[in-house]
Amino acid sequence: MNVETFPYLSDLAERMSWSCREVLRDVADVPHLLYRVQLTGPHFEARALEPIVRVGRVRADFVELSADGLTAGAYFDRPLPERGAVTFGYEDGVLYRFPQEFEIEHLERLDRERLPENVRFP
């Protein structure tokens, strides 16, 4: 569903936003630098199906929803595009398309000097 095409969701469209930063996560005991795209605005509901977030053509490797449904954290273990649409949905389709396009310059980067030596980059 593209909220831009539904006037009654215009309030929602105004509240929908994303932020993006680099984070570290241990995966199989190896520190991984991941890109986390944090989504807010809609109510992200739990389903049987895993949620899916895309930035442009790049799909997040996993998505974590908060228990209160207010945020969705999408984690990328692969390079993000310079620009691209941000969408949230499930295997069966896109539920939200965020009005603000992703731009890589908004990525909050970690200080490379302070990262562990064995960190794995996307």
Partner: protein, 1024 residues
Amino acid sequence: MTANKQLNGKLRLTLLDAAGELLGESVDIRLQHLVLSDLRVVSGADASEPILIENLHPAPQGFYKLEVDPASYRPHRRFINIRSSGVTEVEIAFEDQEIEEPELVLVGDDGEARTDLEVGEPLTVSAGGLRRAAAHEVRLLDADGALLAEQRILSDREGVIPPTNLWPQLGLDDPRSARALTVEEAEQEWAGRRLGIEIRYCHKTVAAGTVPIPERFERPLVLSTDVEGRVRNGFEVGAEDVVVSGLRLDLPETARVYMVARQRDWRIGDAFTPVLLRSGRSAIADVELDGGAFRARLARAREAEPGAYDFIIRHIRYGYEDDEDLFLRPSDIVGLRTVTGLVVREEFMASKFVAGGCANLQQISGRKLFGAPYFQFTNVFPVGADVWGALDPNALDPGHQGKMVALYVVPHKTAAQWTADNSLNHLAVLGGNAAVTQFKTQTGCINHNDHLLWPNATDEGEYDIVADFGNNTSTAASFLPDDDFDQPLDMIDGYVVPGFRIVPDPVDHTTFNHAGTFTYNDGNTTVDDDSFYDPYLGHPTPALSPVIVPQRAEVYFPADAAGATLPSQISAAQSSYPLFLVVHGNSTDTSSYTGYSYLLEHFAKNGFIAASIHLKFDMKGHGRAEMVFKHIALLQTKFGSSLANNVALMGHSRGGEAVVRAALINQADTLGHNIAAVISLAPTDQYGRVTLKDAAAAPYLVIYGSMDGDVAGGAPFGSPTPPSRTGFSLYDRAKGAAKSMVFVHGSTHGRYNEVWGDTDITAGWSQLDPPDYPKLINVDAHEKIAKGYMTAFCRQHLLGESQWAGIFRGEWVPPAVEQADAGKVRLYVQTKDTSADLIDNFEGIHTATSWQTSTAGDTVDDAGTLPVDPVEDQLHNVDAHSPHDTGGLLLRWDGTGDQLTFGVPVADKDVSGFDAVSFRITQKVDSPSNPAGIQDLYATLTDTGSQSRKIRVSKFAEIPEPHKRNRNQYTKSAMRTVRIPLHAYTIAVAGKQDVDLANIDHVRFDFGVKATGEIEIDSVEFTH
């Protein structure tokens, strides 16, 4: 879940007749709680005194619908409220006696009511308005009151006796002496006489009528006779010439006689083919008529093959080429519709199947089918089903043919018990020995020898059926059953194993009266859960991350008294109990695990320790699986040795995938849990294509709905390689153990969980829309499906009760499921045995021609009939609506002569050790070739001697129209398994050849039922 756990309500019913006296008969009582899942059925209660029913839900939750159904009165229904204490007294006076008057109807050969019958016509009667499900004597009397024929027949549950033939060809044989008459002799003897028909119940005539035989005969008659004109409807191959006589034919001087394969219900335009005789010539004769009569020899004794035949008479006009078209015309004259013209029998001992040594064991119990092959032998019936019995003419030795027989239904006895006591005591509930069904055996078609033995069978148990030939006579008047099982004259369905079983409805069936319950919260634990999880993204190594989970669960267990809340109060009836463990799916509602109380309580009353465990929001496959073992350990500490190492895992949604993962972990990590059954309910399939197979294989059941609003099952979004991921894909991949899948039309995702309810219908992400809502089945139906199918599956595989297997072969549906939501439930079963003889599974490398070679290594050939070559491929590649993860064959036909033949390799030709020919099949969604409604075709077996029989698939299984969804991408080309019992190809059926199962040459799909179609098939095999 708000079920009142204190089942201390009591109801006393006082039932009175019209005179205000206690009702002196048995009644059936049904109590259905209006809200809770509580159905009580009391069958055959004695209403000669007040009836007490205990353990009901009392007020404030004591609302029930009560239905009392006596044998002699109309059922009475009312709502009642069970008092919170004491006994609720209800008095019902039955005043509206059944008002329907018994009615007796004479039925003509064309199925229409008749007022008289001529010599040579079948004498058939039907009756209605009789006492329901009761034995009636149907007697045919001569004008002087002498008994000519008698059958004892059960009326059905509506009080109807269906058309029943008393005299196959009136007058042409003397029922008292078995003497055959010529037509002329018969006309002379019977003209102008008036026969009487009586229907008697308990020695009192309840309906009567007459059969006038006119002075002059006008209707044309064509029949098989001897050379002197005496009727000969059957003889052993090689014994006699085939002679046909015609009388009263309104034809000019010459006519042509065709001997053709027997067909029931000849219709104008039907094609026919003259029989090819052993000598190589066709069975045709041109005859000259003398006063509308002729007699002609169509075949010498040595020429006729075994089979059932009819005769067609046609006037051939000189010079008219069209007169030789082999299509039935309005002016053609055909022999009788309901009586086979001639049966040439196999040499008896060459074809007889002897199963029991000295005891003559034969299958008798079964279900009636409408249309060929008319009867399906089976040995398990759910309570409330009608039990029919049939004597296959092919299994009758010559000494049994045309003889009176009585069919006794008796409690099962072992061979030793039969040896010790061979007396027969027909069940009291069926009226005892005085009410035994009696009839005269006929040759030619099993349809003539089937009878309703037990309508609405309600007494659970194991039974045998004995065919008692008594004093071995062909005349009804002198027939005396001897109430003994005499070997080798009498036949038995039973002896070694029960002839049949009446099994309870697993939806209602319990073996313990009480269930204790408690919950526990034993602190947090840490398990590893999936992190990088999706194989479709190409991650080399799925990784795991720790997650902290509270160890909470709800537990039910068998108890000896109400109110038990401690594991130590588990029933003392057994030393240990199997475990049924439930793993719920993803939800932010932390009470999700309490949504299965209805199911846990049912399992506890079936003798299981039943627990539903809590899983944390957003847990995935691995973490849920690990929690299974954490909780088994906790339950072991609580129940000690009362908890058997005999485990069934049931998972819902993400849990449905996790239980498969749990079985894999159990095997890989050698945890030692005996996982004897795995059930996936509306499962996901998104954490790495987990597959229940190899050493981890366990009996597997998948239940999934066509209206799942969450795991809706379209082509995966963004995935490079579909198939869609639902229970279908889990089912398709599973192998190494028996598996079944139940696809339920109208079933949703959440209605199996009382906490979730309609979430997948109402949520913003729901994949259902208002146009779908009328197609949904209600919560009650969902819960009955879960209770019925899951308990039956677990009882089968954890308790070793084989009587439930038929449910998972799609042979029967638990009655309460069938009746749920006003009969709206439609479900379709896939099943696979581990010991099948595979013909083709369409796996391997797919090419444009790979379909032409079967998995078994033989040829597959359409004989150039199909409009385009079939396509063998992964089904999701050829049909975006296919939910399957398997190779299959897509094919389309456009003519009733189209066919597809699978050769059977030499090593596999003997299939006599199998029970059924089986395949999976579906209509292709949105194919313009498929007409609306069900699709149909024939499955044909042909032996190496070219004997062939085709069976219409719809006689045994429906190929349904895909259940359409508003969002059409979720409408599924969902295969179901069709199983056609192999006896359908061997029992005697008029006009059909008997196939030699020891020498099968090929299996063929004949597309002669519907003119066009497009289907997908898989798993063509012979199976048990």
